[in-house]
């Protein structure tokens, strides 16, 4: 599972931060070339892969690569 913020598309609008049910995101100090402060999936361990951040992002700036079905079951066994 991976979350990537596509830096050049993000406009720092705050939807991912405020609408993530698990409050995974917060504001980083990094800026893109347009001067927008970028969000950061700081607490990625809490992510449930619900995909709301991807949906809420008006600029297609969040790339959520979900765990493949196979890996997911392995993960469960491991736990």
């Amino acid at each position: 599972m991976a979350i990537t913020i596509i830096k050049d598309f993000c406009k720092g609008c705050g939807f991912c931060i405020s609408y993530c049910p698990k409050k995974v995101y917060d504001l980083s100090n990094e800026m893109n070339k347009k001067g927008y402060r970028l969000p950061r999936p700081a607490r990625i361990e809490d992510c449930t892969e619900c995909g709301l951040c991807d949906m809420y992002c008006p600029d297609f700036a969040i790339l959520l690569e979900k765990t493949k079905k196979k890996e997911k079951s392995k993960e469960k066994e491991g736990r």
Partner: protein, 182 residues
Amino acid sequence: MARQEVRFAGFGGQGLLLAGILLGKTAAIYAGKQAAQTQSYGTEARGGASQCNVVVDDKEITYVGVVNPDVFVVMSQEAYEKLIGEVKEGGLVFYDCDLVKIKENSKVKQIPIPSTNTAKELGKQMVANVVILGAMVEGTKMLDGELLKTCLKESVPPGTEQLNLKAFEAGRALYGKAIQGV
């Protein structure tokens, strides 16, 4: 004082237009000079390139545009890279060093002004434009700072007068500090 061409450049939404209007309005209404302010902006209301140019002169202004500014106030990397080449030889460049990284340039004098962070410390990043305007007026002595403050009080949204005045003063002080450093 002969014709002075000032260019403010950055992104739509940074308040560059207001800064230019304050400068022009002070010159024309309070300082009894001639002034003309023009702007060029693209389609985007936010994030697009935005330029606000002001000409100040003692005699009547025939051409109102700014071709090679004597003074360049810049608040975005994109605007800096695109427009630094047009600044007159020996011109003054006031750049928001929190947003802009400059390149070596012997033709002009580049003065760092941390207007974004200073504005944040004052409580609202929105007044970064007034901070850097204060630094510019202090550095160029184009206009009496007190006249500009009078104009500022009348032009900013009601209730933001004190914050804007503080931002202007902070900008003036920043110029002093910047000069020691440069």
